[in-house]
Symmetry: C2
Subunit: 324 residues, 2 copies
């Protein structure tokens, strides 16, 4: 038997709202949210469904952290500093309190890690798979939010960290990368399960970057959004796409994974553009925040995305990039 809804809120969720005055101890119909003087409030929302976005047996603590982090990654891409979040859970009719306790442990760990608090939410029952939805709030200096629509022809195109680890990590977690050493399998799986939202880098890029977004669907899925929103084209130099050692090892063991590594998905790295004059400022932001940043191409007039081989020749088609 699970606790009743009010007991469950009091026992498990109220502690997550401590120290956040606007949450009113989760004991009111609504909450108050204050971006603070001179700040804009940034809002984003992302949901996960059992058996669609995660497996039923997934560790609830790790799941909670991923749920928060995919939302925080959107804030990072806007240059925002996280403030708070609301949580809506639809759980099976007989929720298992030990599952909830472990889920709350994960929330608490990442609340501490990222300096946020639980503002409110709703919990409902469902006869179907669990669904978990977070709306995250952050703040940026007034008028300074990084946007998708701000890329300019002539900009450099950058990506943070390494690409492809998320997509390879999903395969690693499924046990598909048998030829790979155990530590590489583990490193890749961790990238899939526990993405690192690039919050420090995002905040440091405010006033430097033009356009920015986070890489959740992979470069072939996400870059066209910046191009379409900004009314520009992009050129990507395949040889410059940054791969981790583990990803390189996976590709060495199975060259068919090259396209998977490039096309990616679930990396939660930042994809951004900045004017050529800002190269040293971008390097300084990367260095100050301890975040690797690589220049992977450029923005041009026109529309669409072109892939270039190491000799700068257009690549017509590439497995995994078909929807370019």
């Amino acid at each position: 038997m699970g606790l009743g809804e009010f007991d469950r809120i009091a026992r498990f969720f109220r502690p997550l709202a401590q120290g956040l005055a606007g949450a009113l101890d989760l004991a009111d119909d609504a909450a108050l949210l204050d971006p603070g003087p001179g700040r804009d409030l940034v809002v984003t929302t992302d949901a996960m469904v059992e058996s669609v976005h995660y497996l039923p047996g997934e560790d609830p603590a790790r799941l909670a952290r991923k749920l928060l982090r995919v939302n925080l990654s959107d804030l990072a891409a806007k240059g925002a500093t996280p403030l708070a979040y609301t949580l809506t859970t639809a759980l099976p009719s007989q929720p298992d309190d030990s599952w909830i306790a472990r889920f709350v442990e994960g929330l608490a760990a990442d609340q501490a890690e990222y300096g946020i608090g639980l503002l409110g939410g709703d919990s409902v029952k469902t006869p179907g798979p669990a669904m978990l939805s977070v709306t995250a709030f952050g703040t940026v200096p007034k008028g300074a939010m990084l946007r998708r629509a701000a890329a300019k022809a002539g900009d450099d195109l950058y990506a943070s960290g390494t690409l492809g680890d998320g997509a390879l990590g999903l395969r690693a977690a499924r046990g598909d990368l048998q030829a790979l050493a155990a530590d590489a399998v583990e490193a890749l799986a961790l990238r899939y399960h526990l993405p690192q939202p690039r919050l420090a880098l995002g905040a440091a890029l405010v006033g430097i970057a033009h356009a920015a977004m986070d890489l959740s669907d992979g470069l072939p899925g996400d870059l066209p959004h910046i191009c379409a929103a900004s009314g520009v084209a992009a050129e990507v130099e395949l040889a410059r796409l940054p791969l981790s050692d583990a990803a390189r090892a996976a590709v060495a063991a199975d060259p068919a994974l090259q396209a998977v590594a490039w096309a990616g998905g679930d990396d939660y790295e930042l994809l951004f553009t900045a004017p050529v004059e800002a190269r040293s400022a971008v390097e300084a932001a990367a260095s100050a925040t301890g975040t690797p940043v690589g220049r992977i191409g450029r923005i041009a007039a026109g529309q669409g995305v072109r892939l270039l081989d190491p000799q700068g020749r257009p690549v017509e088609s590439l497995a995994g990039w078909q929807h370019f």
Copy 2:
């Protein structure tokens, strides 16, 4: 076949974001929200699950309006003026575009009715029942949000409108009220399907009312929250509970429904307290907003809720009120 997610957003949801600059045409990772100078931002969230909160065959337009209205009712209870909302939908893997088109019609109708816009959201697939979650944003003058925890001993206790129509309306919609005239059945069912958030009254009560909340679970479920949060007791005069003509007719036809009418649920009326000196101000707020308001009891020192019969004697127990 349904449209792809991006086409669906562009075709169905982007028009709902027009005129709301912070929504960025639903084409970015996040949205901007500005409560405006001198205003506090109020946040609330409520979700609905198919087969739990509504029947699978429910008209999507009416469902959309109820989803918005249950959220707007929470804003009303806080004295807030609605501003915007985010929407998360988890729909079956093969969503029916005509269902979505009709759902969006309902959203558009109530956006126009309540002066709000769609700020952002997420749409995911689910193998299970549909789940729909709204986070609604409103504003109040700084520091003026009505709260549950503000009732004072000696306050009058008020309810807006009529009670019990929601609970009787559910029975009416199910076809359980065979003895009732068709127009009364229709009136009750409409109350259940399309609650009227008391936004004008809530805003007018700012600076007048002490504590406030909306009646979603029914008086026996909701009033104890005000008492517990405020550290006070409440006395309810059963003879003063306001019933609609349709509810009275239902009770006349089946006296067992008296407790259902009183215990209610799904009414989305406002329950609030105000000092005795504010009686004329409460009447003026009710009159100015065209909202019936009835005095149904008082707040006292102590704890718990007491029911009083027409002679002012405590009623020990009442079917439907057992959890008092």
